[in-house]
Amino acid sequence: MLRMDAQPLTTTLIHRGKRIEVRSGSTLRDAIRKAGFSPEAVLAAKDGELITDDRILLPGDEILLVAVISGG
C-alpha cells in the first residue's frame, strides 16, 4: 500500500542556485563528491550555520554548498 506521508529518501544540495538531489544516509563528504564537487572547494551550511562534512545526511535535509574558490 502506498503511503502518502512517506518522507523523501533524498537530501537536496543547493549549489549556485541549482538543486541537486542525492541519496540520504551517506556522509555529506561522499554526497559532495558524488554530485561532482570537490569537498575542498565548497563549504556546507544547514539552516544558516556551517557544518562539517562528516554529517550523515537525513531525508529531507537541504544543504547549501558555498563555492569558495575564486580565480582572480
Binding site: 570537490s38 569537498p39 575542498e40 572547494a41 563549504l43 551550511a45 550555520e49 556551517l50 557544518i51 562539517t52 562534512d53 562528516d54 558555498v66 563555492a67 569558495v68 574558490i69 575564486s70 580565480g71 582572480g72
Partner: protein, 316 residues
C-alpha cells in the same frame, strides 16, 4: 564532529591541521594565525600604517576585518575597474567595500579607473597587445601601479593583499610548470621595498586556505561578492587550484606542504642570487615608478597607446 577546544558542534574541519573548531573558536583562530604569519615573516610592525587592497571579495574583506580586529592601522583602497558585463560587477563590489568600511568606521579610498584615466579596464585592454584576448594582465598591471602610487604618495608602510594559500600554491604550480625563475624567486609572503618608490607588499593570509577565508567571511557575516569576475572563467589560476584540490582530497596538507617547502628551499638557496632581475629596475621617465622597461613603464605606455590624444591620463 566536535570543536577541539570546547566540544560544541564543529563548524569547520581543517584536515591539514587535524583541527575542527566551532564558530566562536574559529573566528578567533584566524586572527591568531594571521598574526603568527605577520610576525614570522616580519610583515609589519604594530604602529605601521597599512593599506589593504580590497576588491569586494571574501579574502580581501576578511583580511581587512582581521587586521582591524588585531589593532593595525589599516586603511582600504578599492580600484573601480569599470567592469560591468551585464551584471554590474564593479558597481556591486564597490558598494560592498563601501558598506563594509562604513559599518566599521574604516577609511576607504576609491580610485575609479574610467573616471581618472578615461577608459575602463576592458576598453583599454582591447586596444593593447597585452590585453587584446583577455584583460586580466592589463588589470593586474593597472592595479599594481595605482596601489604602489598611493602607498608611495600617502606614506603607507606596506600594501596588504588578501592572497591566500590556494592563490599562492596555484601561482607556484603554474610557475614551476614553466620553470619561470624570475617569478619563482620573487614569490614570497613579503615583497620587500627593494628600492625607493616601491611599496612593501605583504600577504598575511598566505598560510590560510581559501576555504577558511571564505568560512571566516561567512561566520563574521561579511557581505562579499559571490559572483566571479566575468573574465576569470577558464583562468589558469582556477585550473591549478582544481588540480591542487584533487591532491588535497587524497593527501590533506598537500597544498600547504607544497608552498612551505618551496619557501624553505628558497631560503636554503634554491635560486642563484640575482635571479629576480630586480637589479635592472630604474625609474619610469614619465611617472617615476620603478620599471624594468627602457624609458617609460608598461603602465604609462598602456595609456599612451590606448587613449586618443586629448584624453591622455593625468601624469601620475
Amino acid at each position: 564532529m566536535r570543536c577541539r577546544i570546547c566540544g560544541a558542534p564543529a563548524a569547520i574541519n581543517m584536515r591539514q591541521h587535524k583541527l575542527a573548531l566551532c564558530r566562536a573558536h574559529f573566528v578567533d583562530w584566524i586572527p591568531e594565525q594571521t598574526e603568527r604569519a605577520i610576525d614570522h615573516y616580519k610583515m609589519a610592525d604594530r604602529g605601521e600604517k597599512l593599506l589593504v587592497a580590497v576588491s569586494g571579495g571574501k579574502d580581501s574583506l576578511a583580511l581587512w576585518d582581521v587586521l582591524h580586529r588585531l589593532g593595525y592601522a589599516a586603511d582600504g583602497v578599492y580600484i573601480d575597474l569599470g567592469i560591468d558585463e551585464g551584471i554590474g560587477y564593479s558597481g556591486k563590489s564597490r558598494a560592498l567595500c563601501e558598506s563594509f568600511a562604513a559599518a566599521r568606521g574604516l577609511n576607504l579610498q576609491v580610485v575609479s579607473v574610467p573616471a581618472v584615466y578615461g577608459a575602463s579596464i576592458p576598453d583599454v585592454a582591447k586596444k593593447s597587445m597585452r590585453g587584446r584576448r583577455k584583460p586580466c594582465s592589463v588589470c593586474g598591471l593597472v592595479k599594481r601601479h595605482i596601489m604602489n602610487r598611493i602607498c608611495r604618495e600617502q606614506g603607507y608602510a606596506a600594501l596588504a593583499t588578501g592572497h591566500n594559500l590556494d592563490d599562492e600554491a596555484a601561482v607556484l604550480l603554474h610557475n614551476a610548470m614553466t620553470w619561470s625563475g624570475g617569478y619563482l624567486v620573487r614569490q614570497a609572503p613579503v615583497l620587500a621595498a627593494t628600492r625607493p618608490g616601491l611599496a612593501r607588499k605583504i600577504k598575511p593570509f598566505c598560510r590560510i586556505y581559501e576555504r577558511e577565508t571564505a568560512a571566516y567571511a561567512l561566520m563574521q557575516k561579511i557581505e562579499y561578492i559571490y559572483e566571479e569576475c566575468p573574465y576569470s572563467e577558464g583562468s589558469s589560476t582556477l585550473y591549478y587550484k582544481e588540480i591542487l584540490n584533487r591532491m588535497e582530497e587524497d593527501r590533506p596538507g598537500a597544498k600547504l606542504q607544497f608552498y612551505l617547502a618551496f619557501l624553505q628551499a628558497k631560503d636554503q638557496g634554491l635560486f642563484a642570487p640575482g635571479a629576480s632581475g630586480e637589479s635592472d629596475l630604474h625609474e619610469c621617465a614619465q611617472c617615476g615608478q620603478p620599471t624594468s622597461a627602457p624609458g617609460k613603464c608598461a603602465f604609462c605606455r598602456l595609456w599612451e597607446n590606448a587613449t586618443p590624444p586629448g584624453l591622455r591620463p593625468p601624469s601620475p
